[in-house]
Structure formats: C-alpha cells, structure tokens
C-alpha cells in the first residue's frame, strides 16, 4: 500500500473525531492530531483501534504512544504491515 493510500484511509478514520474542520481541510503528512485537528486525547485510543481494524494490524503500547501525527502514524502502519 502506498503512503498516499494509507493517508487517504487514515483521513476517513480520523474524520468523526475532528473538532477543527479548518485543520482537517488542510490535512497533510505534517498534521498533528491534537494541535491541528483538536481531537480529544481520549479519542486517540479509538483512532488506534479503528486503524487496527482497517489495516488488520496490532499496535503495541510503545507504538501507540508515538501515534500523535499523520506522519508518525503512517510510519507505524507501514512498519507493522511489512512485519
């Protein structure tokens, strides 16, 4: 799966949790979930569960802690899918 395809799927996943629509419109690799999209930090665990379902991977606690931006999340998804 290409990076672009992953970002496209990730965008669909985070959409319901987004509280800053402006930030969502400009979503890019550099987007930070909490600062740019104003996602409630409690919802980050829900996003991770949705990512696991969508990509059929399992994300451990160490990886989870890093998943605060699109870039970091894409990297972790790629790593787990290639594992």
């Amino acid at each position: 799966m290409t990076k672009e395809e992953i970002i496209k799927k990730l965008t669909t996943i985070v959409k319901p949790y987004v509280q800053n629509e402006e930030g969502f419109k400009n979503i890019s690799e550099e987007t930070d979930f909490i600062n740019d999209l104003e996602i409630n930090s409690a919802n980050l665990v829900d996003i991770i569960l949705d990512v696991e379902d969508e990509f059929d991977i399992e994300i451990d606690n160490d990886a989870m802690e890093k998943m605060l931006s699109v870039k970091a999340t894409v990297a972790i998804i790629q790593e787990k899918m290639n594992a």
Partner: protein, 425 residues
Amino acid sequence: MKNRVVITGLGVVAPNGVGLTEFTKAIKSGTSGITFHQELKDKGFSCCIGGIPTISEEKKNEYLTPLQLRGFNSTSILYGVISGIDAWKDAGFSVDENSDLDYNSGLIFGTGTSGIEKFREAIYKIDDQNVRRLGSTSVIQTMASGISAYLGGILGFGNQVTTNSSACTTGTEALLMGFERIKNGNAKRMLVGSSSDSSLYTWGGFDAMRVMTYKHNQTPEKGSRPMSATASGFVPGSGGGALVLESLESALERNATIYAEVLGGNINSGGQRNGGTLTAPNATAVQKCITDAILDANISADEIDAINGHLTATSKDSLEVENWTKALQRTGTNFPLINSLKSMVGHCLSGAGAIESVASVLQIKEQFVFPNINCEDVHPEILALIAADKIPQKTIEKNINILAKASFGFGDVNACVIFKKYSEF
C-alpha cells in the same frame, strides 16, 4: 431567607409517550405502553412483557453528535439526555455547545445502574483477554454519573453536576435534593431527574425474585394492575424524566412559564427496622416521611387534593394505601384522589420517580387526574380503607391545588414531595 422554588420545564421519555405532548395525551387517554418482548421469552424470563420507549435513529441524531453515538450503547444515558435537553429547552433556554459556562445552573440526575448493555460488552471483551479493545467509550457510559456528565457538558453547567442512586426512590430524591439546593441559595436553577436502562440485564434480577407478573404474557396491556385485586407483580418499565427547578425570583425575572411550585418534601429511611428489610418498607418510616413532607411544606393534610403513589402492583399496594390513610388521617370518602402511573408504563425502576413527577406536575398544570387503568377490580383491602371513587378509572377534570407524590425503594428508603399550583402568594 429561603428561596421559593418553582418548576419551569419538563421533559419525558416514557414507554407510552416520548416528549411532553405525546406523553400528556397518553396519560389523559389511559394509553398503555406495555408490550410483549420476544427477547424476554427467548431468554427464559417468566415475565415477558415490559415498557420500553420508542426512539428512532433519527431522534437519537437530534440529541447526540455522530461522535457521541460512536460505540454508544446506553439507553439510560440516551433517555437522560433526551429528557434533560427537552426540559431545559421547555424552560425557555437554548442548547448551544459554545454557550458561556453557567455557574448558577446545576443538575442532579439519578440512575440505578448506568449503561448496563455497555458494561456487558466490556465484560465480554475483558474475559476474552481483549481489554485494550474497550476504547475510550466504556468508562463514560458505564460510570453511574455518565448521565450527569453527558448532560453537564451538553448544557455547560457550572454549578453542582452529580448523580444520585436510591433504587426506585431515585428520581423523587433527585428532585428534593435540587429543591434544597435552590431553597438554600446555592443555585438558581437545577435540572433534576432520573432514568433507567431498557435491558434484560436490569430486569433479570427482579424476574428471579418473582416480583414481576408472569400472568399477562398474552395480555400485556392488562399486566400492570396497581391497587387491583388481581395484581400479580409489577411489570418492568424503563425511560427517563427531567424537571427544571428554579428560584421563583429567577423564573419571574425571565418571565418563564411556571408549571407548579415545589412546597417541600422529605427523604428518610426505615433503617430496615420495625418490619423494614432490604426489600420491604418500614411502615412507620413511610408514614413519617409523608407527615414530615406535609410539615416541611407548611400545609395541612386536608389540603391535599390528589396523591400520585408509588403503587407498583405487588402485594404491598394495600400497605401503601394504609400508610397514606394513617399519615393523612383521612379515610373513606374523605381521602384524596389517588393514582399510579405504573398502570400505564410499568415500574420504570430508577426512572420511575422522575417520570411520575413529570406526570404529577402535568396534572397540576392542566388540572386533571389521569386514570388508573386495569383497576376495575379494586383490592378489597384497599376498599376497606378508601372510597372506590377516589381511585379514578377515567380521567377526571378537577381543580388540583396540592398534590403529594411519593416514591419508595429497596434499601427501605422513602421520599415524598408536595407540589402546589403556582399562585403569587
């Protein structure tokens, strides 16, 4: 100086009507909300009938955001949110997620157990060694105060925001606790109410105790029979009710519609002494609760025009009526009119006190007494205490000035509130 407290908004989610208009119509016409439920039969319940409010997906979306509805599985929170928002709007306020924090408004919204279906989901996942799959929604939907937490955020309240729990007394207790808070000047407005889940897992324990009727699975609408000679146990119900209590001063300033005044009330416990147990009431304490409520309201027992009883359709109904006659010192034709909403909606458990308080206040506002359905054969023990025409079988249009409402619950706990038609003096 103590503040006078009035009711300025109502909201209700009941098995026989969701929303004030539908509910008022239902109670005036004696419409039952009790139906047969195949899932109860499939699980081997003795009682396969119950009262469940009808809420469409569309309706859910009017009250909760798509994000709030993700993984949402708590009817007690749903009923609490709908009735609470409705009551707040009915009082003339708007609901706006960007509203200023309001330190003068608070809420006390009770429940027995919250989100029991959500809790079941969590238990299955944990037992399956999948605790991490619970996500973020498990805690907020299963904590008892989930309901007050949802409502507090939706409405932006800055005063006390809490949840109480006292079995089937819960809603009436919430109302009286909110009343005290405004009376003592700690808040201007308190949204009070209670709700109960529609769930097999809430009702199962009662079925096991054999306190629910198993005789009306073919005739659900006839099943809930408070004060009837053929009463054979309660019918489980569910739903929520909410009332906006407000200081008279604040209500007048806003030129708000006043439904009724809360004159006073009492909350006590029988301490599981003198005949009281975990599940049965201490009759002396019940009577004291009523007489203390009358004292607190500063009225005489003779001024009470109508009673909305607890009256569940178990063998305890006669004892309850006897307690009222002793507390009021009124019997026979001198007894007030008495009714039980449970004949139409079943026993809504922790939601009962609030739903029934809404029904009580509507009777004062619209000056009527709703009928006791399924009571064409009044229990002889009750007829020995009060005249038959004090138990209306049809809606009566009548000037109701003062109404007493009581709720009693497991744990031997009691609450009685006195409502009065609002007048300036």
